[in-house]
Subunit: 338 residues, 2 copies
C-alpha cells in the first residue's frame, strides 16, 4: 500500500534530552552494559511484596532520578508519557499516581519508550508542553507469568525466545533554551505489519518486518540514508531478528551496513547468560538508550543515532485464538548538537 | 499538590471533526439512545469466531465508516490513535493492521477516546498531522471474562457494578480548511487520582475524584466555568458516580449545576435494562459522543460541550494484590462554530 503523506514528524525546534536515568535488574547487571546503568538492582523485588509492585517502584524511582538530575520537582513535570507490558499498564500508572504528574498512558509493547519520545517531542515542539517525562519498563517475572507461564512451572524456553529484561529507562525532554545537548530531531510513527508469524515465542521474526517498514518510511520521509547516522539501534529484535532485518533490507535494496546496526536486546546480555535470542521488553530499549546510547552521544563517541523501538502487539488471548503476532515500530532520531 | 503550569492544551487553530461514526451492540440498541447510533448490531459476534475477533471487526468497521463519511481513503488517513480494554489493546491494533494506518496505541481505560481526541488535536494543531483517526471500543463479553469472571460462570453482579458497553466510536479530526463545523478547542490531561477505593466493581466511586480533579484543572487553566458550556458530559461514572461528582464539586465550591451534567454511561441504558450502575467501557463514551452528542452539536441543540472521559487504571492482578483502583480523566472541549 502506498501511503499519502509522511509518517515522520520533523521537529522545528528539536526538544533537548535534559536528563536521563536507567535501572536494570541483577541478571542485566551481569551483562556487557552493566557499568553504563545508573543503578543495578541487587534484589528484583525492591523490597516489595510482589513483582508487580516492584516494577511500579522501579518506574517511580527511575523517573525520580531523571527529575533530580534535571533539577526539577514532581510539580514542575508537566506530563509523563509511558507504559509497560503489564495488563492495563499498571506499573506506569501506579508510578504516575505516586508522582502526581499528568499522565498519558501508551501501549506499543516493547516499542513504548520510543513511542513516548516521538509523542513527547511533538507535544513540546507543538507548544503544548515545556517538558515531558518519557518512560517505559519491564520486569522478567511480571511479564513471564502474564504472557507465557508462571515461573514456578519451570517451563522450558525455545532457543528463539527472548528474555524480558528487568529494566527501566526514563528521559526528560525539555523545550530547548540554549544551543547544545542531545536533541530529538525527528520521529516516525510505524504501521502494524504482520507477516503471519504465529510463534508467540519468536518476537524477532514477528517484529523485524515492522522495523523494516518503519525504517524505510523514515528514510523515504526524510531523504536520509544510513550514511546520515553513526548508529542505528533497534530494540528489541535480538540476534535472530537483527539478521532478519538485514535480510529484509538487502532484499529491498535498502542500504543498511551491518556495522552500523546494533540491537539493544542483543547488546544487553552475553550469549552465555542463557538469554536465548536476546533481551526484550519495554525496559530493554529504554534502559539501553538512556543508560548506554545517550551517554555515548554525550561523550561524542557518536553524533547521530536512529533509535527504532519495536513491539509485538499480541496478547495470550490472541495467541490462544490462533492469531498471528503483528508488529509495530517507532523511530526517533537523536542527535548531539555541539 | 499545587502544580506548576497548565494541564490544558489550547489549540490555536482548533481541529475540526470532519466525520464521526458509532456502532453499538444489541443491548445498547434497546436503550434510550438507540436511534442515534449509526449502526446497531443484531449479533454481538459479527459473524466472527470469538468475541475478541468481533471487537476487532467492530473497530475496523467503525473506522471505515468514519473515513467513508469524510471521503478519504485508508491511505490518506495519517494516523490512528486509539485503544480498548483488551489486554495489550489487541482490538485496536488488529484493526489498525487491517487498515494499514500508522498507529499510536493508547491506554487510558474507559477514558481512551477522549485521550485520543486530546492528543490527536495536539498533533494536528502542532503541524504534525493533517488528519487523525480517534477511536475506542469495548465489548461486554471480552471485558467481563478478562477483568472479572467468564460469563459462563453466571456470577452475580453487585448493584454498584457498571455494564461494559459493546460499542465503538470514531471521530476523524482534520486541520481546518474553512470556517464552521465542530471544533476541538481545548484538551486537558488528567492526573492519576486514588482515594483508596478498593472495590473493583465500583468504578463510579473510583473515577469520580479523577473526573473532579480534571474538571477543576480545566476550569483553572482556561478561566472558564460551567456557564461557558451548554453541557458537561462525563463518561463513564454511571448513576452513582455522577452523584459523587456533584458531591465533590459542592464540597469544593466548584459550580456544577446538575442540569448541565450528564453521564454517558447513565444515558446509554434504561434503568430497567438491568445495567446496574450504568454503562462503562472505552466504547461507551466514544459511541455516545460520536453517536449522540456530536449530532446534537451539529443540530445546534447545544453549542459548547465539555466531554470528560474517565478510566480506572487497575488490572485483575492489581486487585488480587489488594491494591486500590486509581482513576484518570481527560477533558476535551468541543464547540460548534457557525
Amino acid at each position: 500500500m502506498s501511503r499519502v503523506g509522511s509518517q515522520t514528524f520533523l521537529y522545528r525546534q528539536p526538544p533537548v534530552v535534559a536528563a536521563h536515568a536507567s535501572i536494570c535488574g541483577p541478571k542485566e547487571g551481569k551483562g556487557p552494559l552493566s557499568a553504563w546503568f545508573d543503578e543495578v538492582l541487587q534484589d528484583d523485588l525492591l523490597g516489595q511484596k510482589s513483582w508487580e509492585l516492584a516494577e511500579m517502584e522501579m518506574v517511580r524511582r527511575c523517573v525520580q532520578s531523571a527529575l533530580n538530575a534535571a533539577r526539577i520537582t514532581d510539580e514542575q513535570a508537566q506530563a509523563m508519557l509511558g507504559g509497560d507490558l503489564n495488563n492495563q499498564i499498571i506499573a506506569s500508572s501506579f508510578a504516575a499516581r505516586a508522582l502526581g504528574v499528568p499522565f498519558i498512558g501508551l501501549y506499543g509493547a516493547c516499542s513504548t519508550f520510543v513511542q513516548a519520545l516521538v509523542l513527547g517531542s511533538a507535544l513540546i515542539d507543538g507548544g503544548f508542553l515545556d517538558n515531558a517525562v518519557c518512560v517505559a519498563s519491564s520486569h522478567y517475572c511480571t511479564a513471564e507469568r502474564q504472557f507465557r507461564f508462571p515461573l514456578e512451572l519451570g517451563t522450558q524456553r525455545p532457543p528463539q525466545a527472548s528474555w524480558t529484561a528487568t529494566a527501566c529507562g526514563c528521559a526528560l525532554l525539555e523545550r530547548p533554551e540554549k544551543p547544545g545537548g542531545l536533541r530529538v530531531t525527528a520521529g516516525t510513527v510505524g504501521r502494524i505489519i504482520d507477516l503471519n508469524v504465529s510463534d508467540a515465542n519468536h518476537m524477532g521474526a514477528a517484529m523485524a518486518p515492522a522495523v523494516f517498514d518503519c525504517l524505510a518510511a523514515h528514510m523515504a520521509d526524510t531523504g536520509k540514508t544510513a550514511c546520515d547516522y553513526d548508529l542505528i539501534a533497534t530494540g528489541d529484535l535480538g540476534w535472530i531478528g537483527r539478521d532478519l532485518l538485514l535480510e529484509l533490507a538487502s532484499a529491498a535494496g535498502l542500504e543498511l551496513p551491518p556495522e552500523k546496526l546494533i540491537d539493544c536486546g542483543a547488546s544487553l546480555f552475553y550469549q552465555e547468560q542463557d538469554a536465548h535470542a536476546g533481551g526484550s521488553g519495554c525496559g530493554c530499549v529504554a534502559s539501553v538508550a538512556c543508560g548506554w546510547l545517550m551517554k555515548r552521544l554525550e561523550a561524542g563517541d557518536i553524533q547521530r543515532l536512529l533509535l527504532i523501538g519495536s513491539g509485538a502487539m499480541f496478547s495470550p488471548t490472541s495467541s490462544q485464538q490462533a492469531q498471528s503476532v503483528p508488529g509495530i515500530a517507532y523511530a526517533a532520531a537523536i542527535e548531539r548538537e555541539d
